[in-house]
Structure formats: structure tokens, C-alpha cells
């Protein structure tokens, strides 16, 4: 934290390289958040870069008593929420999820390891059903292990609003999972021979 403040104060004096060190340090959490929000690496890269540009431009507004990481993720979250609202992002249809991703995931057999890219498709399908702010809350909860208080601080919401958003999101996620499971079962039945 103190190390961060040192770089922040140097960046405030106009030292680009000092802010570059902070970019290097926080690129992964910011990119990860953008990726989960936008669903692909290209948009995530663009959003993460833009978030750092905005953070640097508004560095004077940063309250040094707060966590720098939370402030950065707050900028990235709001940018991604706006972007999801403004642009119609491509959504993943349940038909595009390979049947094995859902059925194998439930299998106790450890040899049946899911292919990473297929899992990504499933994750994106599940997140697509959520409203942008709810999605941000879920991403911060699951991938950044933020508490409800930290999520509230990051998204400028009250703690009770975060609780109700997470509650609603879990319900939506469970419904999306069951819907995907149902479609998979139907697809499997279509492919199976009636003789068996």
C-alpha cells in the first residue's frame, strides 16, 4: 500500500513511468474483471487499457485513504457496465455449449476434465443472463473474492443493495444452469438411438 502511494505521488508529479509500474502491478485483476464483464479478450484488453487511462487522468481525485486496487476496479467496473449498456454485446446461445461441458462437469470421474475453452463458453453463457451491475457484483464476489462491503464500495451501492443484487443473481444463475442442463438432456436424447 505504501509502495503504491509512493508511485501514485510520483505519478501526480507527472512521472508516467511511476504510473506504468502501477499498470504492470494491477493489469491482471483489471483485465480479469473486464474479461468476465465483456466476455472476450479483445474487448477486455481495450476496456482495461481505457480504465488505466481514466485512472491516470483522474488520479487527483483518488482518496489516498482508500485501497488503490478497489478504486481501479471501481473505474473498470463502471466503464464495463456503461459499455455493456451502450453496445449490444454478442450473447452466447445455450445451443453453442457442448453437451459434455454440463454433463461431464457433474461426473465424479476425475479423468473427464473439462476443456478450458468450453468452460469459458459456459461461464459466459451463465453471466450473459445477468444485468450489467449484477454481473459486476458477481464477478467481484467470485473472481476477486470481495466482501459485500467491498463490492458496495466498488460499485457505489449500499450493502443491502449488493445483498439483494447477489440474491437475485444467484437465482438467475441457478435458472440459467437448469435451462442449459435441460437443453443438453434434450440434445442428447435426440442423438441417441431409440433402440437403446
Amino acid at each position: 500500500m505504501n509502495e503504491d502511494l509512493r508511485w501514485i505521488n510520483q505519478a501526480l508529479q507527472g512521472d508516467d513511468n511511476a504510473f506504468g509500474i502501477l499498470v504492470e502491478k494491477y493489469q491482471k485483476p483489471v483485465f480479469s474483471l473486464c474479461y468476465r464483464m465483456l466476455g472476450n479478450a479483445k474487448d477486455a484488453e481495450d476496456a482495461a487499457q481505457e480504465s488505466f487511462i481514466r485512472a491516470y487522468r483522474h488520479l487527483k481525485k483518488y482518496d489516498q485513504t482508500r485501497s488503490f486496487a478497489t478504486w481501479l476496479l471501481s473505474i473498470a467496473s463502471h466503464y464495463c457496465i456503461d459499455r455493456v449498456r451502450k453496445h449490444h454485446l454478442e450473447t452466447i446461445s445455450v445451443e453453442s455449449i457442448p453437451a459434455e461441458v454440463i454433463t461431464d462437469h457433474k461426473s465424479p470421474n476425475p479423468e473427464k476434465v473439462l476443456h478450458a475453452s468450453e468452460t469459458e463458453v459456459l461461464i459466459q453463457y451463465l453471466l450473459d443472463d445477468l444485468k450489467p451491475t449484477d454481473r459486476a457484483a458477481v464477478v467481484l464476489r467470485y473472481w476477486h473474492e470481495y466482501s459485500e462491503v467491498e463490492i458496495a464500495e466498488t460499485l457505489d451501492l449500499s450493502v443491502s443493495a449488493v445483498k439483494s443484487r447477489l440474491y437475485r443473481s444467484r437465482r438467475t444463475l441457478a435458472d440459467a444452469w437448469l435451462s442449459a442442463e435441460k437443453t443438453t438432456m434434450t440434445k442428447r436424447r435426440h442423438h441417441e438411438s431409440p433402440a437403446f
Binding site: F31, R36, F52, I53, R170, E181
Partner: protein, 181 residues
Amino acid sequence: MSHQPFEDWLFSDGQLENQQEESLRTHLKQCEQCQTISNALDQVNEIFLNSSTPEPAQGFTQRWFERLSIAREQHKIKRTWMIILDLFSAATIITIAITIINLNTINWAYQLSQFIASFSLFAGKINQIWRLVQRISNVFPLIVPIMIILGLGMFSLISVLFITWISSLIRIYKPVEKGAY
């Protein structure tokens, strides 16, 4: 069968007391609907928590520095345009203000008489030119048709040049179709 408060406990994901946990476990054994929801949530939790954390491609910071220079350049251009716009707005406001101030001091009767006098002088000049043309045409009868032919020729030439210029501009700025070459 009532699913409350069990559904709330499942979706709120909060810490349950021992008694609540026991109560939920008993309910899940009896209620297929809540059991299905509980399984779905477990699967979602598992897939989220076990997924990999996406990472940016190598050279992210370098690309950020490049983007920073572009952003600064764009900001500079935007600022220049803003200054131009501000100056233009200021000039417009000053012009309008001066016009309004002057409008109040105009002597309308004097302005109208000046306009009528100027129009009369202009009409007089037109009349003089027309008489001159009539006198010349009386001396040289062919001068009027020659003038008309020359006028039409000049007009046609200007029209051809204008059409050529426009078609050249269209050809220059027309986007090249993909696969045309």
C-alpha cells in the same frame, strides 16, 4: 410444501446457524425442487471458483504507454477545437451584441429614404445600359445574337468543367471495393 425460508437461505449464501443448517438439510432430503436448486447453485459455484483467471497478453504496459501518447494527442486536438469553438462563440456573441446595440440607434426613416434613393439610382443605371444596348444594336444589328451565342457558349463550357470536376472528386473519394484488385 412451503419452500420458505429455505429458498432464501440457498440464494443468500450467508452463514447459517447450526440449527438452520440442520433444518435446511432435512428440507432438502424431502423437497425435490429445493434439492434441484441447491445442486444447480453448487455446480455454478464450483465452475466459477475452479475457473482460471484470464490474463492479458504479454506487453500490456507497453501497449498502455502507446495508448497514453495517442490519448494525449487526441486530447490536445480536442482542446484546440474547443478553443476555436469558444473563440467563434465569443465572436458571434459580440457581433450579435453590437448589432442589437446598433439596432436601437437606427433612424428608420433615414435608412428607408437612403434605400429608396439607392434603388432609384440603380434603376436609372439599368435604364442607361439598356438604351446603350438598343443604340448599338441599331448600328450593328448582329451584335445581340453574337452576344447571346457567346454567353451560351461560356455557360456550356463552365457547366462541362463543373461536371468534370464533380465526377473527378467522386472518383477520388469513392471507397475501393474489396477484391476489386
